[in-house]
Amino acid sequence: MDNSTPGMDEKLVSLLDGDLSPEERMTVEQQLAGNALLQQQYDSLLATKAAIRHFGLQQQVGAIHSQMMAELNAPVRKISPVRKMIRYTSAVAAGILILVAGFFAYQYFSLTPEKVFSANYQPYELNTSRGTTTNSLIEEAFRQKKYEEVIRLRDAATEPNIKNDFLAGAAALELNNLSLARQRFASVIEQNKTANTMVLNDEAEYYLALTQIRQKDFAAAVMLLEKIQQDSGHTYSAKVKNGLLNDVRKLSEQ
């Protein structure tokens, strides 16, 4: 040890620790450059510090090594063939369930009054009676699809006529005049009720229900459709299937 300069040992440790000011550091480094024994003494401190750092690093790597072996060697659980089959079956079942649920969800959310109306609406067609040579003007206009003329002729008639009212209702429906169509079909039903007749009554009820669907009056439409379905003698009973009723009920829930 160099004892020629008192406190030199502490100064070397301060140099090692980076505790010296730039001036002090320069002075000590100059002393080191000119004194082999002092340099040897400083090298000894550097070696000691290297030993500590090597030990610290080894310890840190060792600690992380244990953690990493636990992470990297995590056992992969073997699944028995039965459990594997159950798992695959469950996966397939879940897949099918998702598809079915998706299908119904699509049906539910894509359901609109227009879709239900279009799926069930057919334009009314007048029967052509053999041997009949004379048609009223309103019937003729209807056959020629002159719907505005049909409505005008009905309004111009002096006497109320169930058939004219029905044709005017069907013409209004074709022209998308829903309130007029509803008014005319209701009039047909009302007149039949008053006269205790059934002239075009079934047709009027069915087309009125379709009009109500389009008008989004689903409660009234359901009530009328249920009546038609339950009446086995009704002309349109077979047309009112459960699917149609369910669709209208779903629309009323949306």
Binding site: L46, A50, R53, H54, Q58, Q60, M68
Partner: protein, 201 residues
């Protein structure tokens, strides 16, 4: 929950040089390279335990070489680690006296990117001696010296982790511990040679 991520080589080397995020960096090296390096040892007469031991040595050598600026980025970290791994394992096989001619022949065909770092990584027994001499130091001294020289904590931070009355008392204790370890190191010339190689390569 721990976020697992990989570092690009540049970030990995920068972290090691600065000593920042060492734990995450070491873990990233494990995740990226352990399996490959392990496979090499196990396919060249080594056991799983050999592979794990060699990997730890390789990792310590790599970090020390990076901190000494011996890794110049001329190859990727992966290539460098694989070379260190091969070099360390073949040296170990030779030490055990059962290196196979085939392995030596194979080794001659490899590019030795780390030859100038040979001193740093080769002295396995010497390094074991280094660990032993520090381990033989008392627990208190070991703790203070590690906190100061490895964790780079200030005297105030060390004071918070110990029962001493003041920073000056911690400073005096640290000085005494350093001198004690220095004496133990100087008592073993072979150890000093190993440490000299560790510092200068």
């Amino acid at each position: 929950m721990e976020v697992i991520r990989n570092f690009p080589d540049s970030e990995l080397v920068a972290n090691i040089r600065s000593g920042q995020r060492m734990e995450d960096t070491i873990k990233a090296i494990y995740r990226g390279h352990f399996e490959g390096l392990c496979w090499y040892v196990m396919n060249n007469s080594g056991s799983r335990q050999d592979a794990e031991d060699i990997f730890q040595e390789v990792l310590v050598s790599f970090i020390e070489l990076v901190q000494q600026d011996k890794f110049r980025g001329e190859s990727t970290v992966k290539t460098f680690l694989y070379s260190l791994n091969r070099y360390t394992w073949l040296n170990e096989l030779k030490r055990r006296g059962r290196a196979l001619a085939r392995e030596e022949k194979y080794e001659k065909g490899q590019v030795h990117i780390e030859m100038d770092a040979g001193h740093t990584i080769a002295d396995r027994e010497g390094k074991a001696e280094v660990l032993k001499v520090v381990a033989d130091l008392g627990d208190t001294c070991k703790k203070i010296l590690l906190l100061f020289y490895y964790e780079n904590l200030s005297m105030k931070e060390i004071l918070d982790q110990t029962d001493y009355e003041s920073e000056q008392v911690v400073r005096n204790k640290k000085y005494k511990c350093l001198k004690q370890l220095e004496q133990m190191v100087n008592a073993n010339p072979a150890l000093r040679e190993t440490l000299k190689n560790l510092i200068h390569g």
